[in-house]
Symmetry: C2
Subunit: 408 residues, 2 copies
């Protein structure tokens, strides 16, 4: 048997059935027109944001990294909650503008920005987190073409990394950002070229659950930022301190202690070096803001026993939940939190494999999992589906097409 | 340094530049309107099919498993080349009909067929490869509702597997097919219910490069089919023997010896047991028919050096080439065949990392690879991109959208 991941807080049962946003999920499926269906909860988005605001120093701005989930209704909701938005492509810029984000709230990072994307960003007036000297020159050229001073920050590839992070994006050779040692010269060049200097972006990793690691990383970010700001000599209007706040996906994962992170950050804000006194600080979170607010619902087409092993075959799968299937940067597949939605508070009694409908052995949603008895027609809920689900999965695979999505 | 996979045969250079279908790739990119671009070659599709026909016994039908590549123009071309089509969803059924395949040529396998898909298949008159007793009853009910005798075959989960295959789909507990021991009773039930009995489907694995393993598997398939046909007692109109023919993706991979496979199969066809004398035999190939005929072209946005390591950052990436990035069922990432398209016959001199434009460390196309010198503006070609590329990748990730595709 393989354990399931922990179901995030905030989900309850009514007459045994999973409730999201005050409604039983079978009603939500009916409303949405069927399965597979992603349901995102406004209440849970709001609660997560409120808890984060309460834990973090007031001075800290909170940005949403929309790569985690660009679903239009969710994005519009996030526009009311956060202080800024981080985008990673021209396509995301278009979606962000449609969702109501203002250009001044948006910053654009990404190691491979095309000329077209740079021009669109400069024209719109969003901040570009510049990832190389060559990109800076392309952005400045774009500004000249358009007769607009581009808003430029530098994304730093710092000499340290985020310990224990799921994905490392700083420390050593990386395609991301400008090597720390090269930042001062590039910063001076950008300032001298007449750009609107916006400061620094230091993103070192994602999906960390250890508060001590995040606290250490934020200390390193502030120290490096202070040093670089001094070396550039133009002040530091804004510092994007990155993110890295993880969520529990797997058995034994413990939630990140945001109270500890916030307290340590508040202490650091009280003793800032002179060069950072006037700086606006932000963190950039994607998964942490939306991941636990989403549930993927799929219906069991068949309960099948093969050689004594039970398979619950669903109408969903890896084409909507690539990460849960174990095919998105994971070496050893572990089970996400999964439940039988109609028996949400029932005792688990059956060892089963929950699989998708695709004709490939890669299409697994839970392996050797202990769940309450379930049959054809029952709904399976996969939790932690709010981030890197629908938009990060190959929805066209085997002619399936995208899942439905609703915000409730 | 990590070796690159072998570039498939059939690609040449003109003035140093990669040629596909008689045209240099820069001209193809212009024609298609830009990068990223998948180019599929008619000539290579035809050549592969001709070689296969020459190697296999004349009696053997060759089916295309469209899950490998459902691009409309390619599918239409395949309709003229193959004897049948294997589909895995209602969505694929629609695409197949649009491409000109006739219902009698189509068979539908998949462990999680919905009632709607079963009805559509029965109505259209395609063969259903039935994967469980429950599914058989749903299909028969559908036939009654529609007043049509459904065309039914049974997909067998045999007691053996395909040695050395990349993905195992037979042997032991599986969501796919009916356990071998349960097939005779279900076969008799289907025949007695008045369905149009179509025979058996035995698919045990994919991506095998060892001819001996494929030969052994085909022997097992024929033996099991003969035994099951006898036990069902209704003859065996058709036997889908599965596929499993692999292509070389990685360094040291050797092409499958199809001459050996074909010779062994011809010998077996000459000594068939009585129960299989009248049977129509087919193999079902996806990757093998189309994989090596496709090339993914992406343009270098930037050549970047970080801490002494060179990155070629392209405008493509894992959102179109999930498998090449190492996130599709692979444990240890290895390099696909990759080339600098404009210096296709030049000596490799530079150790580089080819990455995509996505803001994630998962987005890699080649690691520590030795390639000719390349700079911003140059085209990178990723080979073996004809199967499980465009349709098997998360194209909406980070707001990127799908790649262009052309058949030349």
């Amino acid at each position: 048997m393989k354990p399931l991941g922990p179901i995030p807080p905030g989900f309850t049962a009514r007459n045994g059935e999973l409730v999201i946003g005050g409604k039983i999920v079978s009603a939500l499926v009916k409303e949405a027109g069927g399965t597979p269906l992603f349901v995102y909860s406004r209440d849970l988005l709001d609660a997560r944001m409120a808890a984060l605001r309460a834990a973090m120093p007031q001075r800290l701005k909170i940005h949403y990294a929309m790569k985690a989930n660009p679903f239009a209704a969710l994005l519009e909701h996030m526009a009311d909650l956060v202080d800024g938005l981080d985008i990673a492509s021209g396509g995301e810029l278009d979606m962000a503008r449609k969702a109501g984000f203002l250009p001044g709230e948006i910053s654009f990072a990404g190691p491979g920005k095309t000329d077209r994307e740079l021009l669109a960003a400069v024209r719109a007036g969003v901040t570009l987190n510049i990832e190389s000297a060559a990109e800076a020159r392309r952005a400045l050229d774009g500004g000249q073409t358009l007769g607009v001073a581009p808003r430029l920050a530098i994304r730093v590839n710092p000499d340290f990394e985020l310990r224990g992070s799921g994905m490392k994006m700083g420390g050593g050779a990386k395609p991301f950002g400008v090597d720390q040692a090269d930042v001062p010269a590039l910063g001076r060049e950008i300032v001298a070229a007449g750009a609107r200097w916006r400061g620094l972006h230091i993103y070192t990793g994602s999906q960390a659950l250890d508060a001590a690691a995040v606290i250490e990383m934020q200390g390193n970010v502030l120290a490096v930022a202070a040093e670089l700001a001094d070396a550039i000599g133009a002040g530091l209007p804004h510092l994007n301190m990155g993110g890295g706040f993880g969520i529990p996906y797997f058995d034994k994962d413990q939630p990140l202690d945001i109270a500890a992170v916030g307290a340590a950050l508040a202490e650091r804000f009280d003793t800032l070096p002179d060069g950072l006194q006037a700086t606006e600080f932000a963190i950039e979170l994607g998964r942490y803001l939306v991941g636990e607010a989403g549930v993927y619902l799929t219906r069991i087409i068949e309960r099948k026993v093969s050689h004594g092993t039970t398979f619950l075959i669903t109408d969903g799968g890896m084409h909507h939940q690539l990460a849960a299937s174990g095919n998105f940067g994971t070496v050893v597949r572990r089970n996400y939190p999964v439940a039988i939605a109609g028996r949400f508070d029932a005792e688990p009694t059956d060892e089963v494999n929950v699989v998708g409908c695709l004709c490939t052995p890669l299409d697994r949603l839970a392996d050797n999992a202990l769940l309450p008895r379930a049959d054809a027609g029952d709904l399976v809920a996969v939790f932690c589906a709010g981030a890197y689900g629908a938009s990060a999965s190959p929805s066209a695979f085997l002619g399936q097409g995208p899942a439905r999505e609703i915000l409730v």
